[in-house]
């Protein structure tokens, strides 16, 4: 089999209803995960029985044996869990799935993520990330939740580069505009103006309410297989040109730990070395990227990610977004075209992979004409994060 025929691609996407946290607690994460996988298989035109691998991340509670049992999978040849909390493993799980199908470990891998923040805990509350290893250096001092962990990084970014509140606000507004066109988006139809943004309450300075992603219940899934097998399926396969985990040295758990990242990178993010690797693997440059789905847990980290992945220089992302570059449809780099975590739903990054796939199929509700290359990033502020470059 030639390399091209063996190349991994995404052939199906599926998602459940996305709601505010707590609204689907009655059914729970396992049920949501099953629905997302079944919908992804249906979207691909794949018989569920053919799924022989599962991959997830962030210690998803729907463990492989439960998924095999519930979905009636005759054979589970591959089951993978990317270590770590948060969504930094979203594209890592895609990378695992791609490696599995390209190496022949499995034929059809379902990558899924299911979140029911009402069933267990809310990430925005103390105890939401109780598996973190360095809580001793955070919790006794009141650093309880992700916004508090990230706020000092953004403060430092502002200190070093003079970013303005309106720069962060533009990220929130651009995502919200895209959400209005996306019927799946939890915040669709709810207007957000710059004045609303600027006058929203401070969560942890400099982070305002609208700098922070949502907390949601929902699940999504994608089916990964090889180009050759994709030919027998329903939808145009979207190639995984590159998918990888990585992160700059010396970061460790970074913002989610003791805040002992390298001094020069504290307010800059840990994605630069990963960016170089995925561009090289995919054989593309930032100039080739038609659209980006950037992990938007917090607006400030979106700005850092745009810099890490080479769309502008260090400290320049504020003016870059303020100039309209991330807006659909006329910006040079339309971003988070489903509304992202800020306005579609926070499904830990996998919904960004789903949207990237839709863009390259031509199925987005904020479609970019002739989109051929999409970068998806997952996480920023702990290592490893992950990223994927998708292509038609």
């Amino acid at each position: 089999m030639s390399d091209a025929r063996r190349q991994a691609c995404i052939v199906g996407v599926g998602e459940t209803l996305y709601t505010k946290w707590g609204q689907q607690a009655y059914r729970g994460e396992w049920s949501l995960a099953c629905e997302a996988v079944l919908k992804a298989a249906n979207d691909a035109g794949l018989a569920v029985e053919q799924i022989d691998g599962v991959a997830s991340y962030s210690n998803d509670s729907s463990v492989p044996w439960l998924m095999q049992q519930a979905l009636g999978l005759p054979q589970l040849s591959f089951a993978s869990m990317v270590w770590g909390g948060g969504g930094s493993g979203a594209c890592g799980a895609i990378a695992h799935a791609a490696a599995a199908v390209e190496s022949g470990q499995a034929q059809y891998v379902a990558v899924f993520r299911s979140l029911c923040q009402g069933e267990g805990h809310r990430y925005g509350q103390a105890g939401g990330y109780n598996e973190l290893p360095h809580l001793n250096f955070m919790t006794p001092f009141g650093m309880f939740a992700p916004p508090f962990m990230v706020a000092p990084l953004v403060q430092r970014y502002i200190y070093e580069f003079g970013a303005k509140p309106e720069h962060f606000g533009e990220v929130a507004l651009a995502c919200r505009e895209n959400a209005h066109r996306n019927p799946r988006a939890v915040m669709g139809g709810r207007p957000l103006t710059m004045e609303d943004y600027l006058t929203s309450r401070i969560i942890a300075s400099p982070l305002r309410l609208y700098d922070c992603c949502l907390e949601n219940d929902g699940a999504c899934a994608v089916i990964v297989t090889t180009q050759e097998r994709a030919r027998d399926l329903k939808k145009k396969p979207i190639r995984i040109l590159a998918a990888a985990q990585g992160g700059n040295p010396g970061w460790g758990d970074g913002a989610l730990g003791g805040h002992n990242m390298p001094v020069d990178e504290y307010g800059a993010g840990n994605g630069k070395t990963l960016a170089k690797r995925v561009y090289e693997k995919a054989g593309v440059t930032p100039a080739d990227v038609d659209t980006v789905q950037i992990y938007d847990h917090f607006t400030g980290l979106v700005l850092m990610t745009l810099e890490n992945f080479g769309f502008c220089g260090r400290g320049e992302a504020g003016p870059f977004v303020a100039a309209g570059n991330i807006r659909w449809p006329h910006g040079t780099l339309p971003m988070n075209t489903s509304g992202g975590h800020l306005s579609e739903a926070y499904i830990h990054g996998l919904n960004l992979v789903v949207e990237g796939t839709r863009q390259l199929r031509g199925e987005s509700t904020s479609q970019i004409a002739n989109a051929e290359v999409c970068l998806v990033t997952a996480g920023l502020s702990a290592s490893p994060l992950s990223a994927a470059i998708l292509g038609v």
Partner: protein, 142 residues
Amino acid sequence: MAYLPEEIPGPQPTTEDRPFWDYCQQRELRFQRCAACRRFRHPPTPVCPHCRSFDSEWIAAPETGEVFSFSIVHHPAHPAMKGKLPYNLVVVDFPACDHARLVSNLVDVPPEEIRIGMPVTVVWETAGNGMLVPRFKKKETL
């Protein structure tokens, strides 16, 4: 009275960080340093990331650190913080210890006066579980 209420969980020492907290109970702020290559590291780890030696020693931090970054928290993510907002979070840097940094609080500075680069010195406060934890106050300048 301590800066944060006693309901906030205190540290629960682990195998790796127990020496750090043991020194804190003696009102000593010490960081782990490699006994072979003499480079600091924090939070504590079993092996030196630079020379891979497992031998380490605990070196007293300088009296003065500086605010590397901060945040003023206005959201009660822990129920005990309701009605006790806002409070500050500071990241205190010790440049002389290879930039070892602690997440902590400034106990005596109003939010609007906190600045990056501000020199601070340690004060010891009792957490809810009775353990002493390092917090900071503005360094008196003459």
